[in-house]
Symmetry: C2
Subunit: 195 residues, 2 copies
DNA sequence: GTATTTGGAATGACCGGTCAGTTCAACTAC
DNA sequence: GTAGTTGAACTGACCGGTCATTCCAAATAC
């Protein structure tokens, strides 16, 4: 599944090289606002400004589209968090982790909301993709906590608590109190987590 | 999960007085597992062990049923949290708040999941009900923080962070690590929040 | 007697997915 | 150079299925 613009081997250029991305963008936004199951393919096509058929030309099915959306959001998440965790431990790691997550929410609000709203839902075909990114997101925190002598079970729960504090405060900011700025939210989360 | 025992006479099931609750129970469970939009009225009726017509006799529409589910879960939440907050301030309030929320998740997992998964979704008819309970849930924490000199905006963000840490750790527990027990999860959240 | 429940059939809207056809830039033949 | 060819990208009408909702006559509860 190529994520970049199609570059044909015979030198041809796709008529509208942005179609796939346009679909992903529109889908991400609609999924964030209304949830996956109540966003129809017709709506996504209309919102992306393309025909319904093009969605099925670019993606195997609705589930495939969802997976691609989750995949893209997950890559974003993993990238940001990997950078934030590099060479850091303890309180400093936690602090940078929170900052990075909030920056992600600020810069990609729809992607963040899709991940959160679908995170705890079961019995879905895209469960696996979400699962994968969930592990990646938590791994740096878990590893650090275990290194500090916390048991594996506790480490996972504590990491979830840190992520939860950040995500929910971040979404509270986005959805209900956008008048605050990034620094306000970061401060609130860090104070709450005692960093 | 039926609330009253069936009683057969003619191949038909008589369950007069408990019908409404049976519907609410079944709906809550299905909504938690699959989400609102992908739980059909037929499924809810079958799961509740009653006829489809009875749902429309007891509720105006699917949206009305959802609203009733949210309403009931919200009352549960508000009740538990009101009790936890009574006559408490500062760290002790926060501690009891976390304990109460986790106990709620333990005792009413489906209700908790419905509230969380629908919490940050927009453009829904039941948005208003969720909104109401969200405020109630946060109010005690917000008031306490403001009393301690925290600004209104910061208080709301910090309260959200506390609730977020508790909810996400609680759902992590429920969904992914049920082998832990209530005390483990409580400890993890309280440690993370520095209480 | 009235309120509630049942079982099921009917209706119309919507939705995911299909497919025959269109478009057009690159390519080929002459 | 130009007329014709190719084929990936795109289109939108259409189809089969699902779903919420309505309706109702018979049965049951209070």
């Amino acid at each position: 599944m190529a994520t970049t613009a199609p570059e044909k081997t015979d030198g041809r250029v796709a008529r509208r090289s942005g179609t796939r991305d346009a679909i992903l963008d529109a889908a991400t936004e609609l999924f964030a606002a209304r949830g996956v199951t109540s966003s129809s393919i017709d709506e996504i096509a209309a919102s992306a400004g393309i025909a319904k058929g093009s969605i099925y030309y670019n993606f195997e099915s609705k589930a495939g589209l969802v997976e691609a959306v989750v995949e893209r959001s997950g890559e974003l998440l993993a990238g940001v968090l990997a950078e934030a965790s590099a060479d850091r431990v303890g309180v400093e790691l936690r602090r940078e982790f929170v900052r990075a997550l909030l920056a992600l929410i600020r810069d990609h609000p729809s992607a963040a909301r899709v991940m959160v709203t679908e995170l705890f839902r079961t019995e879905r075909s895209w469960r696996e993709s979400i699962e994968r990114w969930r592990s990646i997101a938590l791994s740096a925190l878990v590893a650090d906590l275990e290194r500090a002598g916390v048991s594996a079970a506790q480490a996972r729960l504590q990491a979830a608590a840190i992520v939860g504090a950040t995500l929910v405060a971040g979404l509270e900011w986005l959805v209900f109190h956008p008048e605050n700025d990034y620094e306000d939210v970061t401060a609130a989360v860090l104070v709450t987590l005692g960093c």
